[in-house]
């Protein structure tokens, strides 16, 4: 829907802005080839020409965009085979669209008519900055995923992989993970320690949050601060302290010791999320339940618990991820018999740089995404139930 009536732009404007974008793309291509400066110059010149031509023939948008796509693809293929051809296709698609988007002023049409050119520029610059930050955050994870399908035993993109040759890819690191005793026993350890620690954290954390939300409890803030401290104190300090304390009382190197240590780390997450849901909890409901003869335990399970359940579950998921990802404390409190997945990955990275670690990392990323999606969906459900608009 067009908010603002627009006219076609002058060729000079289209050429100029296209040149800036071309120079930006050229910087990356040029740097990869050894000279960023040359890349900027070539990219800017090329896009200036394309922008200038496109601005003159805005009525033939479709055929021109197809022609650009074909030209970029062929150029990419000629320069470096299949991988660069894929890059060429992406460039062709983007710059074909970009040049006409500028030339026909589509970029302006859906913005409010009273914006100054400076505000329009900022509107798009802001989006480019956000996109760049997103790419910066996500790239390390994206690089790891294809490498985990490497047919070689190194963290290296082999020439076969870059040619998209099936020979260069293999599932052997995934087979290695599922077939090796060491990895499987550490996976088993993680899967027994994390749920047990989660149960303890959720139990204690929820009780603490409910207790601390009662107005008549003395020293509420001080108690809260102490309970949350495992989140704030540097992990290595908690770990060293736990090591000596647990050694004295015979818990060091036991399954139960690791579970307790992880529960202590998970409790703050549960307290925080449950306290947040309790803010929206109407205390007159418990009084109404008491009025109708329910004892406090029944009131808790029948009235309060269902309402704060989303907070409890999301706290529990955080506690689970904390225990499942934790490496520092378990290195101190555990012994080799309680070797967890992160511990195995940590020693694996140090002693044997094997892509099996990347395969495990990929699996863990997928699991984490699934867990966080669940948390987000629960949060929205809770807000919907409480009549707040999801944000």
């Amino acid at each position: 829907m067009a908010l603002t009536p627009v006219e076609n732009q002058t060729p000079a404007f289209t050429a100029g802005v296209s040149a800036v974008a071309g120079g930006f793309a050229g910087l990356f291509v040029g740097t990869a080839q050894g000279s960023g400066l040359m890349g900027i110059l070539i990219g800017a010149a090329l896009m200036a020409v394309i922008g200038f031509i496109c601005a003159g023939i805005t009525d033939k948008e479709k055929p021109v965009r197809w022609a650009l796509l074909a030209a970029f693809t062929v150029a990419g293929f000629a320069l470096g085979g299949l991988p660069t051809a894929v890059l060429g296709i992406l460039f062709g698609l983007f710059f074909g669209w970009f040049a006409f988007w500028l030339a026909t002023s589509r970029y302006r049409a859906h913005l409010a008519p009273y914006l100054t050119p400076g505000q329009v520029l900022w509107h798009y610059t802001f989006r480019v900055i956000c996109g760049a930050i997103f790419v910066f955050l996500i790239t390390p994870i994206l690089v790891v995923m294809p490498l985990s399908f490497n047919a070689q035993d190194f963290f290296t993109f082999t020439p076969e992989m870059l040619r998209f040759d099936p020979e260069g890819y293999s599932l052997k690191h995934y087979r290695d993970f599922f077939g090796s005793d060491q990895w499987q026993s550490s996976l088993r350890n993680s899967l027994t320690i994390a749920p047990a620690a989660t149960l303890l954290s959720v139990g204690f954390g929820t009780l603490a949050a409910i207790g601390l939300s009662q107005p008549h409890v003395p020293f509420r803030r001080a108690i809260m601060a102490i309970l949350i401290s495992p989140m704030i104190v540097p992990l290595i300090i908690s770990a060293a302290g736990m090591y000596f304390f647990y050694s004295r009382i015979g818990l060091q190197g036991t399954y139960f010791g690791v579970v307790l240590a992880h529960a202590a780390l998970g409790i703050p997450f549960v307290i925080i999320t449950v306290t947040a849901t309790l803010v929206g909890f109407d205390r007159s409901l418990t009084r109404a339940a008491a009025n109708m003869g329910a004892n406090p335990v029944t009131t808790f399970f029948k009235v309060q618990m269902p309402l704060i359940l989303p907070g409890v579950i999301s706290g529990g998921l955080f506690a689970f991820i904390t225990s499942f990802d934790e490496v520092v404390v378990v290195l101190f409190v555990g012994s080799a018999g309680q070797k967890t997945l992160p511990w195995q990955m940590f020693t694996g990275l140090r002693e044997q740089i094997s892509p099996t670690i990347l395969a495990v990392a990929t699996i863990l990323v997928v699991i984490s995404i699934a867990l966080l999606t669940t948390v987000e969906m629960l949060r929205r459900r809770s807000e919907r139930l409480r009549g707040m608009s999801p944000s």
């Binding site: 070689q152 035993d153 190194f154 963290f155 290296t156 060491q182 090591y243 000596f244 050694s247 004295r248 060091q252 190197g253 012994s335 080799a336 018999g337 070797k339 020693t347 694996g348 140090r350 002693e351 044997q352 740089i353």
Partner: protein, 366 residues
């Protein structure tokens, strides 16, 4: 009683002996090692045969040898030693022995004699560098280079020759070996290296030589790094443990060559932590005797290219377990490879390590 009967009797006693004492031994054994291909070679050469002989025993691996000294100190302080047998390099075992964190051993009584009757202490010979230490292997820190990126170097001094061998090189982030190589390539005779290094001028001279390549060095701390960097083409040559290079070349088929010149010999072996309860100690000593006998050490060389520490094992070294290639030419101790070796002086380094570490770190930060 004739000889045959005697032999049979001896054999039955030997077989029955472990079974008779089994009741007094713990059934769990925590071994500490380095992980990776080296730990796998120990698993196949001694742990699996031992488990086959002693079903019911459970062995747990902990890949913590890199921090053996620090962790044993902490365990000792907490009064809770969870490790039973620890794999450590010679210099670490000397430190642990001096601090009383490792038990002293009676090598002739605690370890198996060679098949020909030579006592264990004679069989290991000079390699018994400490009373607490049972050496397993001789390994070396040496150089690998990319055969497709640079010409074949024939001397260790190629690392300092940026003109003929351009590109990055990887070196271990510590003064040991690097200082010796620097002085050697600066023209110091091999026998005088430690004498020169003992003077402040000598240290400056070594660092000045390293300064000439400082901008082209990638510093590594874990043995797996150099093979990874070489496979990436990130460096054209780099130092690491010879077994890592063997595995990259022979098992992974990477275009890497070995430069054995001035390889630096070192030892790796077992130590028994001090203060173990009697039942665990009995199990450890039983395993240790088995795992360091002549045949077991020779078997280990089937899986990794490190030289067995017993003289009597050397003739038994055979072929690689999977690739079927002769292992002897890949051993650091093979005469063809050991033409010009650097014998790293433990005692000199024990006395000067702290001082040189500080100077080296200061130089790195400059």
């Amino acid at each position: 009683m004739n000889f045959k009967k005697l032999a049979a009797l001896a054999a039955t006693t030997a077989l029955c002996a472990p079974a008779a004492f089994a009741a007094d031994m713990a059934n769990e054994l925590t071994l500490v090692s380095w992980g990776g291909a080296y730990q796998a070679s120990q698993q196949k050469a001694y742990v699996e045969p031992y488990l086959a002989m002693n079903p019911g025993v459970k062995i747990i691996w902990d890949e913590s040898s890199a921090e053996a000294v620090a962790k044993l100190r902490a365990m000792n302080e907490a009064g809770n030693v969870t490790w039973d047998l620890v794999d450590a390099v010679a210099s670490d075992s000397m430190r642990l022995c001096d601090e009383g964190l490792a038990d002293e051993l009676d090598h002739d009584n605690d370890l198996a004699a060679a098949p020909d009757g030579t006592s264990a202490s004679d069989d290991f010979g000079d390699l018994l560098v400490s009373d607490c230490f049972v050496p397993q292997i001789v390994y070396s820190t040496t150089f690998g280079y990319r055969t497709d990126l640079i010409d074949k170097p024939d001397s260790v001094c190629a690392i300092f020759d940026l003109e003929k061998y351009p590109g990055k090189r990887s070196l271990q982030k510590r003064p040991i070996d690097n200082m010796e190589w620097a002085l050697y390539c600066d023209g110091v005779a091999k026998d005088d290296i430690y004498e020169v290094l003992g003077t402040p001028e000598g240290v400056d001279r070594g660092l000045a030589k390293l300064d000439t390549i400082k901008d082209s060095v990638v510093w590594w701390t874990a043995g797996a790094e150099t093979p990874q960097l070489l496979a990436d083409g990130e460096v054209v040559m780099g130092s690491t443990f010879n077994g890592r290079l063997f595995s990259a070349i022979a098992e992974q088929g990477q275009p890497i060559g070995m430069l054995w010149d001035m390889q630096s010999f070192d030892l790796d072996g077992w130590i028994v932590p001090a203060g173990l309860p009697a039942d665990r100690k009995a199990r450890v000593m039983d395993f240790l005797k088995f795992a360091t006998d002549t045949q077991r050490l020779a078997d280990q060389a089937k899986y990794i290219s490190y030289g067995p520490a017993r003289a009597s094992s050397a003739p038994l070294v055979g072929k690689h377990a999977e690739l079927g290639i002769d292992m002897a030419p890949h051993m650091p101790t093979d005469p063809a490879n050991a033409g010009n070796v650097h014998v790293y002086d433990y005692e000199w380094w024990a006395d000067n390590r702290d001082d040189l570490d500080a100077k080296f770190q200061a130089w790195l930060a400059k």
